[in-house]
């Protein structure tokens, strides 16, 4: 990652944060834009889960990583806290790799 890209991300993020407090002074967003902004995180995070679990470059793969994420999903469903969910996923994938899975 280049420093220029990092600074663009930082500046863009700050612009989003400061627009309300510095410029608009509490005026409301157009309802249509507000609705889209509310749905974006769910769409993006779901896409990240899907690709990080099944994509290997431009190929799709079913490997120890997918098994790890499945185990993490079970932990999440059982109400485990964030750190435990991540740990369960990580340890499951590591153990399956140790057992010879790709």
């Amino acid at each position: 990652m280049s420093w220029a890209a990092l600074l663009v991300l930082a500046a863009g993020t700050y612009a989003c944060r400061a627009a309300g407090p510095l410029l608009l002074g509490g005026r409301e967003l157009p309802p249509r834009l507000d609705a889209v902004l509310g749905l974006l995180p769910a769409a993006l995070l779901a896409a990240l889960v899907a690709t990080q679990t099944f994509a290997d470059g431009t190929a799709l793969a079913l490997d120890a990583r997918a098994a790890g994420v499945a185990a993490a999903a079970v932990a999440l469903w059982r109400g485990a806290p964030f750190v435990a969910v991540v740990l369960v996923g990580t340890v499951t994938a590591a153990l399956l790799r140790l057992a010879g899975l790709p």
């Binding site: 930082a10 608009l24 769409a43 896409a47 994509a55 431009t58 990583r65 991540v86």
Partner: protein, 228 residues
């Protein structure tokens, strides 16, 4: 009716719980960022300047998958676009000089906004916003530095199962968002689009295209228009 002391105790306990979570979350970000070949300095700069966990993980995720830097930056910005809406909501807590409002804006996170909005007393809400923001900022950055230094010492991340850590973390961030039908439809459409496009587009593009899933959610009735 809870007493003032009980309310203050609850606010402090909430802030502490969130701080503990942010510390561990920050350490895991540091480890994952350096295992995706970011330098320690860049890893720390992300936490200092961007200060948004979900977007930082997303950037690292796209880069780790071999995606272009531009795709990583755009997906991070799309995730952070929700702060436009949050910024409007917390504006009442950020009255005062330009410098004070400018500093307060950088401390805007899902957590500082949510805790402040949950506080019934207006003066306490302002205090809660600032205390939560400052504590989170310090803890998140300290955690990132520790994680980055630990991550540098770790060899191949796949052997340790760290490639499963990132999607597991995203999943844990995603599930609380799926409270209503429009968000569930947006999530399903986003995931489906991303998987369909993976074999036919360069890495990173599927994530950006998944933003269109958000538009699919707009067509579904039954949305909650309040906090996200």
């Amino acid at each position: 009716m809870p007493t003032n002391d009980a309310i203050r105790g609850r606010a402090a306990r909430n802030a502490l719980t969130i701080a503990a979570y942010a510390a561990v979350f920050g350490v895991s970000f540091g480890v994952l960022a350096t295992s995706a070949d970011l330098s320690v300095a860049q890893t720390c700069a992300l936490s200092l300047l961007v200060f948004a966990g979900g977007a930082q993980f997303a950037v690292v995720g796209v880069l780790a998958a071999g995606g272009a830097t531009a795709a990583a930056v755009v997906s991070g910005l799309l995730l952070n676009s929700r702060y436009l809406a949050f910024g409007m909501v917390v504006t009442p807590f950020l009255r005062g000089s330009v410098a004070r409002r400018a500093l307060g804006a950088q401390l805007l996170t899902d957590e500082s906004a949510a805790l402040a909005l949950a506080e019934p007393d207006a003066r306490e809400a302002v205090r809660t916003y600032w205390v939560t923001g400052v504590v989170l900022y310090l803890v998140w950055n300290a955690g990132t530095l520790v994680g980055a230094l630990v991550g540098e010492a770790i060899g191949d991340p796949a052997t340790l199962g760290l490639d499963a850590a990132l999607p597991a973390a995203f999943l844990a961030l995603l599930v609380p968002l799926l409270r209503d039908r429009p968000r569930r439809v947006a999530a399903l459409a986003g995931a489906g689009l991303a998987l369909l496009l993976t074999p036919v587009t360069p890495p990173g593009v599927p994530i950006l295209a998944a933003a269109l899933g958000g538009l699919a959610g707009l067509r579904v009735p039954g949305g909650t228009r309040d906090a996200r």
